[in-house]
């Protein structure tokens, strides 16, 4: 019988609390009772893995899903998925979704009075490569208003969903853009106490991935929980 090496827990303040009253939707949905600490068992150190059969290689280019080009500023969003020890997380599924350049989602619940783009769905996915790298081609999403508080506008962002190699490493987050004037006012971006942790959600402008006369590059690395030291055989 070998005991299980679990995944590490986040440092205090580096993840949001469930209840963050400035984000009004959390008030009636956040648990009110303390969470029960769950030691990681075989259930939590395993998790769904997705291979090439579950993915479409064309889905990493959000600008090529229709006959025409979407409107807006073409961008490259790329980076790596690593664990806390900077080890690549290979062949893991990343799903992304976003508003179009006008700040409108292709979703029936989005009533913002901005145009839909017939050439943009705002949905993509890809697998990281053996070195944990990924790359999307898309357009820069627009800011949009929401009803959280008076004159509330969300900063431009792209939603990221990442599985990692285990149930314990599952992560959904949002990537923001450098220099966005709306960031200081956004209760979702600001839900995490630790300023450095927050700021790691802001992508970095990246000359390396910028394509001449074609698209600006932004780099966004995602860090998943790292592994505890392997326990001794019992």
């Amino acid at each position: 019988m070998t005991s299980i090496a679990g995944y590490r827990r986040p440092a205090p303040g580096t993840q949001p609390k469930h209840l963050h009253p400035p984000y009004v939707s959390s008030i009636k949905r956040a648990p009110s009772k303390p969470l029960v600490y769950l030691p990681h068992t075989l259930t939590e150190v395993t998790g769904p893995l997705f291979g090439k059969e579950a993915t479409d290689v064309k889905a990493c280019d959000l600008t090529r899903q229709h006959s025409g080009e979407p409107l807006g500023e073409r961008i490259i969003v790329s980076g790596r998925v690593l664990d806390e020890d900077a080890r690549p997380v290979p062949h893991t599924l990343i799903e992304v979704w976003q508003a179009n350049a006008a700040g409108r989602y292709l979703h029936e619940a989005d009533q913002h009075d901005a145009p839909l783009d017939p050439n943009f769905i705002g949905c993509g996915h890809t697998l990281t490569d053996a070195a944990g790298r990924y790359r999307f081609v898309t357009i820069r999403p627009g800011a949009y208003p929401w009803r959280n508080h008076h004159n509330a506008w969300r900063p431009a962002h792209i939603h990221f969903s990442i599985f990692g190699l285990a149930f314990a490493t599952r992560l959904v987050t949002q990537m923001y853009f450098p220099g966005d004037a709306l960031l200081p006012y956004d209760p979702i971006f600001n839900c995490t106490a630790d300023e450095q942790a927050r700021n790691r959600l802001i992508s970095v402008f990246d000359w390396e991935s910028t394509i001449l006369e074609q698209a600006l590059g932004y780099r966004f690395d995602v860090i998943l929980s790292g592994r505890e030291a392997t326990p001794m055989e019992r």
Binding site: I27, R29, P31, S32, L42, W97, A109, I121, T173, Q174
Partner: protein, 188 residues
């Protein structure tokens, strides 16, 4: 050098755009061995109101208690056609339903077998992090000795155990996000 894990953010209200592609509410096709079960329920908020914009993700072992994952090195058979993954959207009334097979027992932290269970992640607008919970099975003798259930105060364990219904093989299990009957959520 140690990096800090990326901060979680809410899925927001529009996650179906990005996450609908891998929805799966029928986890086990016709040929998959095991006891077929249907699990249905509702996601409710602190006022008891339905949460229409939530998403559940499921992870479970096959009927032999084997996970389709390289870290499960138990000497038990895999079922080629059963991954153990599910992703289920919630309807306007907060309702969800999925069909699967009852998982077999898997080892726990104390070296004993855990009672059969399904791991669940709950995502929704308003949840800044996913919520992690488990579904156990009713009238299961192993529940009494289950390591994880015994971490939970006795009065709340029932929130983790699905209930039988009048229909054979149909179980009910609800996600109460907040309040007196709040579902037990884990720090995972």
């Amino acid at each position: 050098m140690s990096l800090q894990p990326t901060t979680s953010q809410t899925v927001g209200p529009y996650f179906t755009i990005g996450l609908a592609g891998r929805r799966r509410s029928e986890l086990a096709g016709a040929g998959v061995p095991g006891e077929k079960v249907t699990i249905a329920g509702r996601v409710l908020d602190g006022d008891g109101k339905p949460v229409p914009d939530a998403l559940l993700e499921i992870w479970q072992a096959n009927s032999h208690g084997k996970y389709a994952h390289p870290e499960d090195n138990q000497n038990k058979p895999l079922d080629e056609s059963f991954q153990g993954y599910g992703r289920i959207g919630v309807a306007e009334n907060g309702g969800f339903l999925f069909t699967t097979i009852k998982p077999g027992p898997v080892p726990g932290p104390d070296g004993e077998l855990q009672a059969p269970h399904i791991a669940v992640s709950v995502f929704a607008r308003g949840l800044l992090l996913r919520l992690v919970t488990r579904i156990y099975f009713p009238q299961e003798a192993a529940n009494a000795d289950d390591y994880v259930l015994n971490l939970v105060e006795p009065g709340r364990r029932g929130t983790l155990i699905a209930r039988k219904t009048a229909v054979q093989g149909a179980l009910e299990w609800n996600v109460i996000l907040q309040g007196a009957d709040e579902t037990v959520f884990f720090d995972c």
